[in-house]
Every structure is written in C-alpha cells, then in structure tokens.
Symmetry: C2
Subunit: 400 residues, 2 copies
C-alpha cells in the first residue's frame, strides 16, 4: 500500500479476476475503491479456493482494501442505485457487466458525461468467454506440454485475466490524465480476446506463423530460441537453467566445465554458441545431454552457490507450498507480504502492492471487506444520502 | 494507437519483454517513446522468432512506434550520453539495467531530482531471473499438465514478464500523476519475483496451501473449482467448455439434454450443481463422462450455433496458425490489427492498442524503428545538441 493515488475515488462493479484485480491495483496505490455486489454476493462470491468455513480465499484476495456496498441488483430500484454509484466519486467505473445492459456506457454517460468507464469483456463482440476459452482459441494449449503430447495442455495461471486487469488499470489512468486536460469522458472496452491476440502479435508470433506458413513446433520444457530447460541433479533435484545472454552462456559452460566438449560441437557444426543464442536452440539435442550429464554429477546444494556466484540464471523447481514454507525471498520473508486477518476468519500472509518504492513509506496490506460493510458509509458520503433515506433503503431490502 | 497520452515523452533503456512491453503500452496510447540501444543492438536484438533474413519478429513486435537511438554503451562517454537521455523528456525512464550500475536511480536522480524511474528486475535482490526461472520457483509448472505427469510442465506464455510490463505502465503513470501534485521523483522497483508472489497471493493460492497444509493437486485440463475441461466431438474436434455461473451450467445441461442424468446424480449425492459451482468440480468424475458422451454424439459445426444461441461459454481449440488464418474475430479481421511494413523487410498483420475506445479515433498500428533511425533527431530535439556536436559524436563512434 502506497499513497500515490490518495484521494482518487473509483467504483467497481465486476466479478472474477480481470475487473477486480484492476480495482485492487488502484486500492494498493492508495485510491479509495468502492465495490458493489448484489446482496448475498455476486457470481464470484464463492469461487474456490475456499477456507474450511466456506469463505472464498479468491474473493478475499482480489478485493483487499476495497469498500463493499451490497445492493439488490435484481430490482429496478437497486439497479438505479447502482447506476448512481457507478457515476459517483471521480467518475471512474470498472465493470465487466454487458455492453448493453443497465450499466451500459450510454446509460451511465447520460448521468455523468465525463465518466470514464473501463469495461472488461470476454470476446469483443459480447460472446461469453473466460481465460480458459480464449487461451484455447489462440493456440497456447497446443504449444504447451511435452513434445509428443497427444492433446492440448491448458495453462493454470489465468494470464489473460491478469494481464487485462493490469493493462486496464493503465488505460483507465491514462484516460483520467487526458480528462484533466480535455474534460472528455469515454468508454474503454478491453476484451480478453483482444488482449490475447495483441500480445501474441507483440511477441512476434503472428508474424512467425505467417512467415513459416504454420505453427511453431511444441518444444516441451525447452526455452524457445536460446538455451534453457529443466535438468536433474545427482540428488534428484530439478533445476530450471537458462542462458539467453552471452554472459549467461559462457558462465554456465565455465561452471559446468563444458568448454572442451562445447568447442568440439562448435567446430563440428561451424557455429559459435556464445555469439548466436539461436544456435543453442537449434543444436539443443547436442547441448542438453552435456548439461544433463554435468548436472548428474553435482548435488544441488553444492551447485547453487557456484551458480549464484557466477551470475547464472537458474532456479530450483519448487511447489507453491514449498516456496511458501521455505523461500523467504517470495512470501513470508518478503516485505510485500504481512499477516492479515480477513473477515472470513482467516489470518494469513497477504500481499500488498507488488512494486517497491524505496523513496516512499509502505503501509501494510489491507484486509478484504465483509460484504456490505461500508454500504451506509458510502451511501452517505458518496451519494449524500441522509440517514433517513438510507434507513428506508434497508427497510425495503434494497441494500444490506 | 490513440492520443490519450499525446505529448508525454518517455525514455526506455530495456531489453526482452517486461520493459519494452511497458514502453509499447505508452507508445500505443500516444506517448513519444525513445528507446536507446547499444550500437548494433542489445541482448534482445536477435531474439527468436526470426524472419528468413534474420530480422527479429520479437524485437519488431515489442518496439513498434518507438524512436530508436543507438549509443556505444561500452565506453564512458556513451554511458554518460545515456544518462543524459534517461533524464531528458518528461523525466520518465523505464529500464531493466541493474540497480547499482551506471543507470542507478541515485546517479540519475542527481541529474534530475524529479525523475520517475521504473526498474524491472528479476529477483528483487538483484539475482538474475527470467520468466521461466521465476515460474519454476513459485510452483506453476508443478500445477500444469496431466494429472499423472512425472515432471513439471513449463508455461510457454511469458505471463510474468507481460504482467510486469502492464503493471509497470500503471505504476509509472500513477507516479507521474502524483508528481504533478508533489513534484516528487522516485524509483519504482518491479521484480518478476514480487509480481509472481503477489499474484498467487491475490488469487487466494497462498492462503489455500497454508490452510490445507500442502499443494493443490494437479487437475490436468480441468478448471479448478467449477465445471470446465476439453471435450471431443463426434467429428474429432476438441472444445473447451466452461460453466462457472449458474446460467452457464443450466444452459449447458439444457442444450446437451442432460437434465435427467444430472438430477439423478444430484439426488444420489445430495447436491445442487446449479447452486454450488464447487460441487461441479468435486463430482467431476461423474459429470465429465456425461458431457463426453453427449459431445461424442454431435458434430462441432452443428453444436456451435446451439452453444452460441444459449450463451454457453466455450471455444474450439485451434492452433495459432489456424486462428490467424481462419478466425476473423482475432487477427486479420480485427480492427486492432492492420498490415504494417517493418524495417526488417516484413509486412504482416500488426496489432495496435489492445483496448477499443468507441469515443476516440483509432490510428493504425505503427512499425518498429530501424536501430538508430532517430538518433540525430532525438539528440537535437531532446538534448538540444547542435548538428556540429552530433556530427562529432558520430565521428568518434559514440552514436550511430
């Protein structure tokens, strides 16, 4: 938590990962983020993983530091209240509601013309999609997994969702910056399908499949276009080792004492692996066995300090539970994590802002809200309602 | 390309994906982004995929719309010039150079106290890391792939790099916003290791492994915590089908005419799959065979319109080459792509800004620069050098 965006007031009406992670990024840089849900919780209120008592670790993780307002969105009066809230504050609204529903840009802009409305979408034409279906559509599962895999391998990290959330935060802030100069409101439509397509274009992979008139072959665990793969030590530890830069390669060859063998291959093949990173990939069937044999002679714990001293780019493979338990660089020992008690009853290491700002004071990570915890506060302070009006809304069950 | 950030001037001295993708995001919203490289190109100048003539589709893809300055960074005078450039423009500098080198924050802040310096890192302690090694360290490869896989499965999408680039763009813009009010400069350190750790925390997975005292089991291609997997039609087409919301589930059951069979399972197990998305995951060994059998009776082309009409969340699996050739929603038919001729000699569909802004005019995607194409222009306009000074730098080989 930092204070860079202190004073900024944003509203979020969104479920799942992309929209809520966007709001989370704002919250962790100091903005006041109000999230509304239907009474009892939206479609992501019970997403797994769950605590034993049924609390959603997922919901808690994505909504830290936000204020929660609960509104009956099934009734017109509740929807009208949501429209008022979406256009309150600084007129910055993050949603994944449909383009043409009660939270459409046109409806909201008629209430507040300078509204900036980030709308996260699946397919840009409105067809439903989630990270998994977009990933299948752009071909990543057919690039992933063992070379001889008979079927696609889905990724488990919702990368498109996460990228959409972070990019959406950037785009929303860019629009807010422009609005300061122009007073212009606008909608920003950000579809998982567009994010995925643009990303594969940005990585050169669209040009690649067109230039070679077909797909890149599956490479299993090998890094594409340079040297890198998983290798196993004598004591059965598996390491990911990468050599993209010249220095990384030369140091790896030096530490593993592979110089003579490598020079022999270079002479036979007429290449320089130091100068041509791509040659390391082209000839990986010659190079990988050398590194395999070298790793099989070493104990991981004795190799690690040699690798680190030489500046080699590597890591052990560890499971998440192992990393949480043992790797102080990542979780428990990291300054971005602190123990937080969440309203669901859990207390566990919780991340704040992923960036580190040495010139700023870091505040501790915040808990998620209880659903509806700030309903009355927000109705009063953001919408200017009297306690009588708020009481009437409660009496009629429009808010909770 | 949009004009939201028109007039903003940013400098990038960065290689590979995270830093350059951050600069790309700024460029595509209208900022003027100057990238400097050492003469002949930095460590990412020849990253695969390559065109037949050796041009890097990767470099071209990540540096679209930027201006390129080539400086001899091996000599002190060249490094000094890079320091001047890094602190020029609006004092916004994106880099992945080491914390303590010639582009350290302290050195640059002594030249320009209000500099905002986004520094992308591997491990936050300065240890080298790339997307692949961080991924191995946080456990994702051990969650990925078939349930009975004997080894980790690396992801092929550099998700941590991409997320770092997009989040870094957001953080940089937030700092620039704060600077307008406070005049404060600062460094923003953004490590792949912190991004990965924070993300797994945000998704609830750190809480999960602590609560259950161990790792989530591998789930193969099954979506965690709801219904979803790959299924094969009678004509051998593979589809990803997902049902997270109640409506998605009910429509899937309806279209596949599984109502009676599902109700039988619900009665036997004492659950409601409509009300409890998690039950769909818990009992997936009962549900998956029903959907498998139903899919095996249908041709993909006849199922697709039924699925779409019902609002089911699904996609075909297609390879990237298939998607580029046939799926007009993603690449060739998409308004975010247009044909661009790049200086490397290639002409191919190239993405502009991934967001769509219906209230703004979209400009076409821009080509990447030739290395050093704007050296003289930038030295003159950004550093105020005379043609004589620039000529002397050329004569001495400090710039190209």
């Amino acid at each position: 938590m930092y204070d860079l965006l202190r004073g900024m007031r944003i509203v979020e009406g969104a479920a799942f990962i992309a929209g809520p992670s966007c709001g989370l990024h704002f919250s962790q840089l100091g903005a006041e983020v109000v999230r509304f849900d239907t009474i009892g919780g939206g479609p992501d209120a019970k997403r797994w993983p769950l605590a034993d008592n049924g609390a959603s670790f997922y919901w808690e993780g994505l909504n830290k530091g936000k204020k929660s307002v609960a509104i009956d969105l099934s009734r017109p009066q509740g929807r009208e209240l949501a429209q008022r809230l979406a256009t309150a504050g600084d007129g910055l609204f993050v949603t994944n509601y449909p383009v043409d529903g009660f939270l459409s840009y046109d409806k909201l802009a008629s209430l507040r013309p300078d509204l900036i409305n980030l709308r996260v979408m699946g397919w840009v034409d409105g067809t439903p999609a989630v990270d998994y279906t977009i990933n299948a559509a752009v071909g990543v599962p057919l690039m992933t997994g063992p070379v001889d895999s008979p079927s696609p391998v889905n990724h488990v990290l919702p990368a498109w969702d996460l990228l959409t959330g972070a990019y959406g935060a950037f785009a929303l802030l860019a629009a807010e910056r422009d609005r300061r100069a122009t007073a212009k409101g606008r909608e920003i439509r950000l579809a998982l399908s567009d994010i995925a397509a643009a990303t594969l274009g940005n990585l050169g992979q669209v040009a690649e499949v067109l230039a070679q008139d077909g797909d890149r072959k599956r490479n299993g665990n090998d890094l594409f276009g340079a040297f890198g793969r998983d290798f196993v030590t004598r004591d059965g530890k598996r390491l990911m080792i990468v050599a993209i830069t010249r220095r990384q390669w030369e140091k790896l060859v030096e530490v593993l004492e592979l110089g003579p063998a490598i020079r022999q291959i270079e002479a036979n093949m007429g290449v320089s692996f130091a100068e041509d990173e791509g040659a390391r990939f082209t000839h990986r069937t010659l190079l990988n066995p050398l590194v395999e044999a070298a790793l099989a002679e070493h104990i991981a714990d004795s190799l690690a300090p040699l690798f680190d001293a030489a500046g080699i780019c590597w890591s052990r493979y560890q499971s998440l539970a192992e990393a949480v338990a043992n790797d102080d660089r990542l979780f428990r020992g990291s300054e971005i994590f602190n123990e937080v008690s969440h309203p669901g009853g859990g207390r566990y290491p919780t991340p704040g802002c992923a960036a580190r700002l040495p010139q700023d004071d870091r505040r501790a990570a915040a808990p998620s809200p209880r659903l509806g915890a700030q309903t009355d506060e927000v109705l009063a302070e953001w919408l200017g309602m009297s306690s009588g009006e708020i009481g009437a809304l409660h009496d009629q069950g429009f808010v909770a």
